[in-house]
């Protein structure tokens, strides 16, 4: 009893420690309240979000990570963005461009193989090379590009993104922001009378007036440029705060020509950027407070969501779940060697905690996005993991053999790792394409089909467990085999039900939106394959063609079909359901399929050689 308590408390401490450690250290490396700045809502990629999300998305796209290290100091994404806007020269020295491809490294003269990231400043001398390369590459069709060409093109796109982001508030190189705005205002006021009377000619002006006009013209050109290329729009509509047609800084400033007044946020933003420049944290914090107060007053809902999303970004629910799932996996592996009863019990409790965190993350996303859980490939991975773990917990309740806990941890870990890698391609809460914009179908068809995927995986992993444990260990008794078989059978039935209903709902959706029930689209075929395969397994079992082993091997084959349907279809890049071509995913998919075939062939080895059979 005492022993047990100790182990469990150690585990809890471990869990707590993990949870505590991964939460990001407070963002304020200086006395600037960057966290408040990170909360400010902006329009980015068609969606209102806190600056923090815009910063994280952009930094992830450019650098593949959400935080940055420079001279041994960790810099948060929001801090990076703030520096990029206020002191662009300083930010240009941060090594944010990740370059993995050795050939591209060679092209850029990077000979230090340990160094994988370069700064904007280091890239500047190579711009001509990169542009020339890109001009050639753009003429080549996407699929035909070599890895080198793809990498160069991606670098080009990332430089463009960086440039656009940098020029989203003021033109880069601006040093006194407030002065830019106020002198523009003053100049316009001074010339106002002149502008009204149109009879004047440029030649009639005094030298000073000419200078003012030129200066006005320059400013307008600068801000028109900002308006053209910005990717972050910080100014809400003045008429309707809930409207999502926000204005860019550029449009906000040039609008002065029409109504002779500035959007109230413009001066505040200019002042806060100046404050960073002149190292006046108090002034910065005050300006930021006032920006937030403005939003709070006009659109409390937007502010609330921005705060919520910031919290969501900071807590990193899924990252924590990944680590916990991995710990559970380790614990259970250890449990086969030592302290089986205690460790498995601890594992089960830890699984409940991990599942709880996973659930919270999922719910958080649903609320923030106002959408059902699955809206894109990323969220499908999160959801598949969640359902698998949930199913595992239910199985554990009935069978109490801790196998389901182990499988849950493995599946939860793998799916969240997949999700993490998918998240590197940008905003995971991106807006929905027009066709998909239907909460009803997203919550019925998509959710059911995804549950079907998850359960097929659970059955498949039970199969894998059966094969490996039976082959390699003598611990798989006849009784265990029967229990595994019953588990797998139940899950396959469940899977048939959900994949069938989900596929059919998809057909109905297709009938509603494209006018045909079935179009032999690759994704539809993939879903149909899963349905048919589950039906085949059940029929083969019924007619006695397969027994325990056959059933398990068939279930493993289900893994292949599901992965193909889940990812393969997107990789083919055809059909209405494809969301983009992914090279890296293709490699992993192939590898997974190969391992599954290996597992099936191992399972086909004569029972004579199975360790679990030798014992008798």
């Amino acid at each position: 009893m005492k022993n047990k308590l100790i182990i469990i408390s150690i585990l809890f401490m471990l869990g707590y420690f993990l949870l505590y450690r991964i939460s990001p250290s407070d963002m304020s490396s200086s006395s600037l309240n960057v966290k408040k700045f990170a909360t400010i809502p902006v329009l980015h990629n068609g969606r209102l979000k806190p600056i923090d999300s815009a910063a994280r998305n952009s930094l992830t796209l450019i650098q593949g990570k959400q935080t940055l290290k420079y001279n041994g100091v960790k810099i948060s994404a929001s801090e990076w963005l703030l520096t990029l806007w206020s002191q662009s020269e300083k930010a240009d020295a941060f090594p944010v461009f990740l370059i993995n491809n050795p050939e591209v490294q060679m092209l850029l003269g990077m000979f230090d193989l340990k160094k994988k990231t370069v700064s904007y400043n280091e890239l500047v001398p190579h711009f001509e090379t990169i542009t020339n390369q890109t001009n050639t590459i753009q003429k080549i069709e996407d699929q035909l590009r070599s890895p080198f060409q793809k990498e160069v093109f991606s670098l080009y796109q990332r430089i463009m993104l960086y440039h656009r982001l940098k020029n989203s508030f003021f033109v880069e190189g601006t040093h006194s922001f407030y002065q830019t705005v106020s002198s523009f205002e003053k100049n316009i006021q001074e010339m106002r009378s002149f502008v009204k009377e149109t009879n004047h000619k440029f030649e009639d002006l005094t030298e000073k007036q000419k200078q003012i006009l030129v200066s006005i013209d320059t400013t307008i050109q600068q801000f028109n440029y900002v308006d053209q290329i910005n990717i972050v729009k910080p100014l809400p509509s003045l008429d309707d705060p809930m409207n999502d047609h926000w204005n860019s800084m550029g449009a906000g400033i040039t609008n002065y020509l029409d109504n002779y007044s500035f959007h109230p946020l413009i001066n505040l933003f200019a002042k806060s950027l100046d404050a960073v420049n002149h190292n006046q944290p108090e002034l910065f914090n005050k300006s930021i407070e006032r920006i937030l107060a403005y939003h709070e007053l006009r659109a409390p809902r937007v502010t609330r969501f921005a705060k919520g999303e910031l919290l969501f970004n900071e807590v990193q629910f899924f990252m924590k779940s990944i680590i916990l799932y991995f710990c559970i996996f380790l614990l259970l592996c250890i449990s086969w060697l030592r302290w089986p009863a205690h460790l498995t019990k601890a594992g089960f409790y830890l699984l409940l905690i991990a599942f709880g965190i996973h659930t919270m993350g999922l719910l958080f996303r649903i609320i923030l996005q106002g959408r059902p859980p699955v809206t894109n490939l990323y969220s499908s991975a999160i959801f598949i993991g969640w359902v698998s773990v949930g199913l595992g917990i239910i199985l554990e309740r009935y069978y109490k053999n801790k196998i389901a806990v182990f499988l849950s941890a493995v599946l939860g870990f793998i799916t969240l790792i997949i999700a993490h890698n998918l998240s590197l391609s940008g905003d995971t809460m991106e807006m929905m394409q027009a066709v998909l914009d239907s909460n009803f179908w997203l919550s019925t068809h998509v959710v059911t089909v995804t549950i079907g995927y998850s359960s097929t995986y659970v059955a498949g992993f039970i199969g894998l467990f059966y094969v490996f444990r039976g082959l390699l260990s003598s611990s798989l008794t006849q009784n265990d085999q029967k229990e595994l078989y019953r588990m797998a059978y139940g899950i396959v039935c469940f899977s048939l039900l959900f994949s069938f209903v989900g596929t059919i709902l998809g057909g109905i959706w297709a009938d509603q939106s494209w006018g045909r029930f079935w179009g032999w689209d690759p994704k539809e075929n993939g879903a149909l394959m899963i349905v048919l395969w589950n039906a085949i397994i059940l029929h083969a079992r019924l007619s006695g063609i397969i027994r325990i082993r056959g059933f398990m091997l068939c279930a493993i084959f289900g893994n292949i079909l599901t992965s193909f349907s889940w990812f393969g279809v997107n990789i083919l890049g055809v059909g209405l359901h494809s969301y983009g071509f992914m090279d890296k995913a293709f490699f992993w998919l192939l590898l997974f399929i190969v391992t599954q075939f290996v597992a099936i062939s191992l399972g086909l080895i004569s029972k004579k050689y199975w360790k679990s059979e030798l014992i008798k």
């Binding site: 068609g46 069938f500 209903v501 059919i504 939106s513 006018g515 689209d521």
Partner: protein, 346 residues
């Protein structure tokens, strides 16, 4: 091969042929239609031999009957469903839809000022290359050549003499025709081209060229009556008019991601006195008189809307079938769960 042709060859057929030698077709596999019928009877025999109609098995019975209903629905759809498109510009009014995958040679008689008489000769008939005669028209058409796809260009002296029939009349006399292989991809247009001789009272009036690539009608005077000829996509006329009042293509602010496509259509049915405006947008089609109009595509700088039009008398079958199968599966699964938890509780 595009999805359309694949479906046609493998699913909407009884047998799948293999062209071993040119013009020698050997059936090698059963096509979708034949398979459907076989599977239907297979299921029927399963129901009979396994006595699925007994009380205990009614969940399974429902599943199998549901799947049979699917096959019936699928069969009916493959025979009776008509797919076409309505490609309409803002301000335009149309009372027909078109199937861009099938062609017809339309002969239009405009002598009656109130009503044009249209005689349409389907593509399949042109392809057979024989003499075509209709009681409504006082002449015969002899198809002298039929090309699945061709390239048309203006004639220059450089072009060598072609093996195709000589075009004597109409716009085709100025055109050089080169036969081309048929496209099988979905998004390519095949310029079907036909050389046709017109015979009136067994006297040749000349040879004309009709092609998908020639978009205007050709006027031919036969026995003092003028007819307009054109090879065009098959038209399905409706008893009502549709006018596109407005097409909208919204994007999410600051991105290129489409948020919504919608067509505001004015429906005018003089027969039924039904006059109203309808908004067709994603997931919200217009169902009217057995036809369903879906927002499918757009063009011409967002002033042209393309609606997919489906007429499928069997559209309810899948709904019926899937409710049957789903109910059967849920019943089976629940009874399994109940048995299972009873066993566990013991």
């Amino acid at each position: 091969m595009g999805i359309y042709l694949t479906q046609k060859k493998f699913f909407q057929s009884f047998l799948i042929f293999w062209e071993a030698y040119p013009n020698m077709m050997i059936p090698v596999f059963p096509g979708g239609r034949l398979l459907g019928i076989i599977l239907f009877f297979n299921l029927l025999s399963v129901v009979y031999t396994n006595k699925l109609y007994t009380k205990k098995k009614w969940g399974l019975l429902l599943v199998h009957l549901g799947i049979m209903t699917f096959f019936i629905g699928g069969g009916l759809t493959s025979f009776y469903a008509i797919e076409s498109q309505l490609s309409i510009e803002e301000g335009e009014t149309k009372n027909f839809t078109e199937d861009f995958r099938k062609l017809e040679l339309a002969i239009i008689d405009r002598t009656n000022p109130d009503l044009d008489t249209v005689i349409s000769i389907p593509q399949s008939m042109l392809k057979k290359q024989n003499v075509i005669s209709y009681p409504e028209i006082p002449f015969n058409i002899v198809i002298k050549s039929y090309l699945d796809n061709a390239e048309l260009s203006s004639k220059t002296s450089n072009h060598s003499i072609q093996e195709l029939p000589q075009v004597t009349h109409g716009i085709g006399a100025e055109i050089f025709v080169k036969s081309k292989a048929e496209f099988v991809q979905d998004n390519f247009v095949n310029f079907v081209t036909v050389h046709a001789e017109i015979l009136s009272n067994n006297k040749s009036l000349g040879t004309w060229l009709f092609s998908r690539a020639i978009e205007q009608t050709q006027l031919i005077e036969i026995e003092n009556k003028r007819y307009e000829f054109i090879l065009r996509p098959v038209r399905y006329y409706t008893s009502y008019d549709l006018t596109l009042k407005d097409f909208r293509h919204d994007i999410y602010p600051g991105t290129d991601i489409p948020k919504n496509f919608s067509s505001l259509i004015h429906l005018n049915d003089p027969e039924k006195q039904e006059v109203r405006d309808v908004l067709i947008y994603m997931n919200h089609p217009l169902r009217y008189q057995g036809k369903t109009y879906y927002q499918a595509s757009f063009g011409k700088d967002d002033t042209l809307s393309i609606l997919q039009v489906v007429q499928n008398p069997a559209w309810l079958f899948p709904y019926l079938a899937c409710s049957m199968v789903a109910a059967g599966l849920i019943f089976q699964f629940l009874s399994y769960l109940i048995r299972f938890s009873k066993k566990n509780n013991r």
